[in-house]
């Protein structure tokens, strides 16, 4: 009976003739929306480079060290974007399920304070670990993640099982966790943090150096190639139409090129002279004439963010849980009738969000080398904006992890660029606000056309 499928014309509207670009996109199966985001990001980068160069009166293509497109600026940008990017991956799931989480910034603040308190006071004074003990780092992080899980579970339970709207529950959380953060030390800032813990925040020590960066880059390229090959194998197994070979090669080459390019940029940013001098003295190296070039390499917070992004992409695309999250977002009633335990899935999504807030808290408090009760203030809005700019539909059912991370990078680029251009903070906020609205408007137009 299945034989009949082959000779019956396809049941669809007549396809229009595709332009060469259309054919190219169809063959490579690139998501045009994602392509648009990458285009927007590049446009912003080039624009900021040109403006920052013109202000200084230098040629944009000289890549002067004070302009936007420098290894140093891009490296810092990536570190600054990490905390928001990590939380945005979870916010995608929350919004896809037609919920919202306004509490992530406050939860981040509370968890940051608790982790700071744990590593500087609790683990040292009450548990009796010596300062600098490498376990302090791990224990503090575990405490933070457990707290994040608990906060998420609590909010998720009230939302899923007690049926209080997520907006209200997390609005309450926004106030509650911020208040609780103040209470941990009666508002005192905790600094400095544990030396190992600090590595999660970046800086010359918190980066993995040139050699390891290349190793990571090459492993990533290998993984890309293997994934492409496996996808092809799978399609062959069931005799599905394959992508043309040139398209596969193109995709592989571009992806590997981007990965290795990013590594190259991270490796082009040298340690500051002072740190090199201290490092040289400590290790008995004589600094040669013209300085010693020690590259930062990929920052640890960026690695954490990328790892989180990969795990979350896997969870959304390849697991039952991820499939259910999207199905519930598309039609909660249908998901329920299909036998999905929608309440438990909702609670789990908020638990994941809590854990991600804890990871972000670790990254951002480590970067600042201090825990303050204002840590993460207004981050919830940046996280939501990143997810929405990245194509997550507030109506639910649509969104990608990679898009949200790109959205976070895009917003951080704007913000860093405006700082570089000495634009006042109020004007910065105005621009970010406008970009958010325009981005969502463009997305609405795009969705109507496709």
């Amino acid at each position: 009976m299945t034989d009949t499928t082959s000779n019956v014309p396809a049941d669809r509207a007549r396809t229009t003739e595709l332009s060469p670009i259309g054919r190219f996109l169809k063959a490579t199966e690139i998501d045009t929306r994602m392509l648009g985001m990458v285009g927007a990001l590049l446009l912003i980068w080039v624009g900021l480079q040109v403006i920052s160069s013109l202000r200084l009166g230098v040629n944009p293509f000289d890549f002067d060290s004070r302009t936007f497109l420098t290894a140093r600026n891009l490296w810092n940008l990536s570190v600054q974007a990490s905390a928001v990017a990590i939380m945005a991956t979870g916010m995608v799931l929350v919004i896809v399920m037609r919920n919202i989480d306004l509490s992530v910034g406050s939860a981040e603040g509370l968890i940051g304070m608790v982790m700071g308190f744990a590593q500087v006071h609790f683990l040292v004074k009450a548990v009796g670990l010596e300062l600098g003990n490498p376990w302090i780092w791990a224990l503090a992080l575990v405490i933070g993640i457990a707290l994040g899980l608990l906060i998420g579970a609590l909010q998720g339970f009230v939302i899923a099982y007690m049926e209080v709207p997520a907006f209200i529950v997390t609005l309450g959380g926004l106030l509650i966790w911020r208040g609780a953060a103040w209470w941990v030390t009666s508002g005192q800032t905790i600094a400095p943090l544990d030396a190992t813990f600090q590595l999660m925040g970046g800086g010359p020590q918190g980066a993995i150096g040139a050699t390891w960066s290349w190793v990571v880059g090459l492993v990533a390229c290998l993984a890309v190639v293997l994934l492409l090959l496996r996808g092809r194998q799978q399609r062959k197994r069931f005799k599905f139409p394959l992508r043309p070979l040139w398209a596969e090669t193109f995709l592989g080459t571009v992806t590997c090129g981007v990965i290795l390019g990013a590594v190259w940029i991270a490796n082009s940013y040298p340690w500051p002279i002072g740190i090199v001098r201290r490092y040289a003295e400590a290790n008995g190296i004589t600094v040669p004439e013209g300085g010693l070039f020690i590259a930062h390499g990929i920052a640890i917070p960026v690695l954490i963010a990328v790892a989180v992004g990969i795990v979350m992409t896997f969870v959304t695309n390849r697991t039952r849980f991820g499939r259910y999250v999207f199905a519930i977002g598309g039609n909660p009633e249908a998901a329920n009738l299909a036998g999905i335990n929608t309440r438990w899935i909702t609670m789990k999504v908020f638990m994941i969000m809590g854990v991600l807030a804890a990871i972000s808290a670790a990254v951002s408090s480590a970067r600042l080398n201090s825990a303050t009760n204002s840590l993460g203030t207004l981050d919830e809005l940046l996280v939501i904006a990143a997810a929405v700019i990245g194509g997550t539909s507030l109506a639910g059912g649509a969104g990608t992890v990679a898009g949200a991370m790109l959205g976070a990078l895009l917003m951080q680029s704007l913000q860093s660029g405006m700082v570089l251009l000495n634009i006042d903070t109020p004007l910065q906020n105005i621009v970010v606000g406008l970009v958010l609205v325009v981005a969502v408007w463009l997305d609405t137009l795009y969705r109507k056309r496709v």
């Binding site: 299945t2 499928t5 049941d11 069931f238 598309g330 249908a334 329920n336 036998g339 999905i340």
Partner: protein, 262 residues
């Protein structure tokens, strides 16, 4: 047909109330293998509610459900599916944002050895079953929201028959379909009947019902007016049951039948 056969499904004295409204009141209906029983009645007569109790979407207040002679405990849709009860809902109950294969396997995904979704295997299965139902269907990569009404309906039907249903509930299966597709569904019903599957058919279209059903069961105000074999009653008599609650001589009256003052 021998009378001693065990019914595939036997709903006995089912009642459910929402607030003060008795949506289903002491309703009993049974279904034999290879039989099509049509449930008829006005909007709000309680037929959809009764059927949602069988499919696990609602929990009954009282009454019992027997599947193949044994009492079944059905308190959610998963339980119903374990008994081989599949439902095609009037609203189709599709997740619009995911593709056909994801909808077909929603809640029963095929997994790889590593515990991840085996999308390719699911798509292959989807192609097989959709090939049977609607050979011209090709849009496997697109979200269901992009499909036409008829195509969406075939996805919903395919989902119900994919997992070896023994009991099929079709709630207005042809409401969104054109004449050709309606005929296709009719063919499918006959084919499924031949396979020994029992079908509850909810429909407004009395012609459909007389074409496909072996028996009709009419409900009014949550109660069963009567049950009759289609060859024993006329369309007008059935209309009388629906509108007036008047039980004709060819039908077995239920608790909802109009009491004729004698």
């Amino acid at each position: 047909m021998e009378q001693t056969r065990i019914p595939l499904v036997d709903l006995k004295n089912i009642s459910i109330a929402f607030g003060g409204i008795r949506a289903v009141d002491d309703a009993s209906v049974d279904l034999y293998p290879g039989e099509v029983v049509a449930l008829l009645g006005h909007n709000g007569a309680g037929k959809s509610t009764l059927i949602k109790i069988l499919s696990g979407a609602y929990k009954r207040d009282s009454g019992a459900i027997f599947v193949r002679g044994e009492e079944a405990s059905i308190s959610n849709p998963r339980d119903a599916k374990k008994y081989g009860i599949e439902t095609i809902y009037q609203t189709l109950a599709l997740a619009d944002n995911v593709d056909a294969a994801a909808n077909l396997f929603l809640g029963r995904e095929i997994m790889t050895a590593y515990g991840t979704l085996d999308d390719v295997a699911m798509e292959a299965e989807a192609r097989k079953v959709m090939g049977r139902l609607n050979p011209r269907f090709q849009r496997f990569k697109e979200p269901v929201s992009k499909l036409s009404g008829g195509q969406r309906q075939s996805v919903a039907i395919a989902r119900a028959i994919l997992f070896n249903a023994r009991i099929l509930i079709m709630d207005e299966p042809t409401a969104a379909l054109g004449p050709q597709e309606t005929a296709q569904v009719g063919e499918l019903v006959k084919q499924l009947k031949a396979d020994g599957i029992g079908i509850f058919l909810i429909s407004h279209d009395i012609h459909d019902v007389f074409d496909l059903a072996d028996r009709v069961c009419v409900m009014k105000n949550g109660q069963v007016v009567g049950t009759a074999r289609t060859q024993d009653v006329t369309k007008d008599e059935v209309l009388g049951m629906i509108i007036l609650g008047k039980c004709p001589p060819g039908a077995i009256p239920g608790p909802g039948a109009m009491q004729i003052a004698a």
